[in-house]
């Protein structure tokens, strides 16, 4: 136990971080502790192997893709700020926070949550989910439990339903439209304890 100020002061630009992400000081401290626990060699940043060491994540069929979401292309390190900003996507939407007209979009807005999910599909980051990419995700989630034909038929059906401009790929807008009725806030949010 100790007062929170001493730990908060050790984190650079923590005010900005809290402002941007909406996490409370207690949350930031807990995430900082978690960051330090994952950063076993104390380098101050995380690399893909540190994420890979989390057993429950290794068990997740799309674990590799989730890890990839933390690292921007070409970068092999994630610092604390980036770590928190990406986790901020999963904060529940603040219903009582007034939407200021000129403020930048919140990290945990519905749109940004969808964008996060979209990039899990769209690995080459060209803005579209091609048939190939869809097949890869399906293979990851289903493993060896289904045949190639079943996978292909699922993929074809999905693209048929969602692809509105008939370019045989799903753009972000089409993705968003197909998930109109899904309660994104509930499904893509993690309940942080006080």
């Amino acid at each position: 136990m100790g007062s929170t100020n001493s730990t908060l002061l050790k984190i650079p630009n923590v005010e900005v971080l809290m402002q941007e992400t909406g996490f409370s000081p207690a949350h930031i401290i807990r995430l900082h502790d978690r960051f330090k626990a994952l950063d076993k060699e104390g380098r101050g940043h995380l690399c893909p192997q540190d994420f890979g060491a989390i057993k429950e994540l290794a068990m997740n069929p799309i674990g590799d893709r989730i890890i990839g979401a933390f690292f921007s292309p070409g970068k092999e390190m994630v610092d604390f700020h980036t770590f928190v900003k990406i986790l901020a996507h999963f904060r529940p939407v603040d219903k009582d926070r007034p939407k200021e007209p000129n403020s930048p979009e919140l990290i945990n807005s519905r749109s940004n949550k969808l964008k996060f999910a979209f990039q899990l599909y769209d690995q080459d980051k060209d803005g579209k989910i091609s048939r190939d990419e869809l097949l890869k995700v399906l293979r990851a989630m289903l493993g060896m439990q289904v045949t190639e034909e079943q996978l292909e038929s699922i993929a074809d059906r999905t693209i048929q339903e969602a692809d509105l401009d008939r370019d045989d790929a799903i753009s972000f807008e089409e993705f968003r439209k197909s998930l109109e009725k899904v309660n994104i806030d509930h499904k893509m949010s993690i309940r942080f304890l006080r």
Partner: protein, 451 residues
């Protein structure tokens, strides 16, 4: 000028001499003699009670101090940072379907896996077990308080006094005792080894082992409460216990006589091992023999078959866990087919963290930390013996024993392998997830095609 200093010199020498003699006598009377006979003056229990009162006062003081300064106290929740919903995969997927539609693949299915993945990044069950447990109150050891911060002068002064006592008085005392204990063990077991094999030798060997372990227990100021001693392990059986630190061996062996199992070491450990085996048969394996499972199993079963030999002490987790949970038991010891005597060991973390994080500290470092803590307080429960039932395989038996130990010690029963501390997750677990998901999708589409 110098002649003035001489009387002081001899005075100092005399004082030193007297204090050493007094200290040594006290040591002998209060610690070593009771260890030999297995009695206790109750000094350690009194010490423990006063420490508890002290810690409670310190915690209150910190809370009050923080309130005065209008700061928030960082109270670590041992339950975790996020609330994980225990909703199964099937339920989730069904919820996500827009009511009434056929359960086919939907782009939103990925949300479930995504959320679970990020939840495990923020907080996962396994990594927590391999770091020391977080405490709710402060026990005046800086090492267990991540945010040590000057709250009040009185508290800092108390901490300073604590440091002086622990490092200036307790540590030297304990190190002396430790050396005495180990030295006596080596010397006395070698002497007992000279006796011809027989009842006299066994009797002496038991007494010698018990005495030396008791001295070691006092060297750590370990305050142990044994429960259900009527279930103590008997000859011809295996004793299994959960593993938190190398000290577990000393704790169990000071209350009963066991045959130890382990790898042959060099150096001081090797000397101790060789001396111990002279007095009574322990099982030490060469490094090369360890890999050969059949050889290991054979040696263990041979030992058990001989009813005159002591029960074997084994820690099936294979590695040190942080004493909040019990991890997967390796099935080797459960395949032998003899009676198993489970023992649960639970440490009280308020007095000193006994967990050995072998990736962070070496053995010597760890022992020094142990000896400079306030005390090691733990409870040992002897559970009734178990045997493998008809139709039960070794793995199921191991899990049954593990569940019993976890329940008694109040620890979480996890199916994760302790080897996960170092190794990778087996593909099997990932396949389980994939199987579940495909059942929801493909299983239901089969129903559709039938209708």
């Amino acid at each position: 000028m110098e002649s003035y200093l001489f009387p002081f010199d001899s005075l100092i020498c005399m004082l030193l001499g007297i204090s050493f003699t007094v200290l040594f006598t006290l040591l002998l009377v209060f610690i070593i003699v009771p260890a030999i006979f297995g009695v206790s003056f109750g000094i350690r229990r009194l010490y423990m009670k006063s420490l508890i009162k002290l810690f409670e006062w310190a915690t209150l003081r910190m809370e009050r101090g923080a309130k005065e300064k209008n700061q928030h106290l960082y109270k670590p929740y041992s339950n975790g940072i996020i609330a994980k919903e225990p909703v199964s995969l099937e339920q989730e997927i069904q919820d996500m379907r827009r009511g009434g539609a056929e359960p086919e693949f939907d782009m939103s299915d990925i949300f479930y896996f995504c959320r679970r993945g990020v939840e495990s990044i923020v907080d996962d069950e396994v990594t927590k077990r391999f770091t020391a447990e977080e405490l709710e109150s402060w026990n005046l050891l800086t090492r267990s308080n991540y945010n040590f911060h000057h709250i009040s002068t009185r508290l800092t002064a108390l901490w300073g006094v604590g440091v002086l006592i622990r490092y200036g008085f307790l540590l030297p005392l304990r190190v002396t005792l430790a050396f005495t204990g180990v030295g006596l063990l080596v010397v006395l077991t070698s002497i007992v080894g000279l006796f011809p094999n027989g009842r006299m030798k066994n009797y002496l060997s038991d007494k010698v082992h018990l005495m030396c372990y008791r001295i070691c227990v006092r060297a750590l100021t370990a305050i142990i409460t044994y429960h259900d001693s009527e279930n103590k392990p008997k000859n011809g059986g295996i004793c299994v216990a959960n593993h938190t630190s190398p000290i577990d061996v000393i704790i169990l062996a000071s209350d009963g006589c066991y045959a130890m199992v382990g790898q042959v070491h060099g150096g001081l450990m090797g000397v101790i091992q060789r001396a111990m085996v002279k007095a009574c048969p322990h099982i030490w394996f060469e490094r090369s023999e360890v890999k050969d499972r059949h050889l290991v199993a054979k040696r263990l079963s041979d030992h058990i078959a001989d009813k005159s030999k002591l029960p074997i002490l084994i820690f099936p987790e294979g590695t040190c866990i942080n004493n909040t949970s019990v991890m997967m038991f390796k099935k080797g010891s459960f395949e032998i087919g003899c009676r198993v005597y489970p023992v649960a060991i639970k440490y009280d973390p308020r007095f000193g963290d006994a967990f050995w994080n072998s990736s962070k500290f070496g053995m010597v470092n760890y022992l020094l930390r142990m000896m400079s803590s306030w005390a090691i307080v733990c409870s040992v429960w002897y559970l009734p013996p178990m045997s493998r039932m008809e139709g039960e395989d070794a793995v199921q038996f191991a899990n049954r024993v593990k569940a019993a130990i976890a329940r008694k010690g109040g620890l979480a029963d996890l199916l994760w392998d302790g080897g996960l501390k170092r190794g990778k997750v087996k593909e099997v677990f990932k396949e389980e997830q994939q199987k579940l998901y495909s059942k929801v999708l493909v299983g239901s589409s089969e129903d559709c095609s039938r209708s």
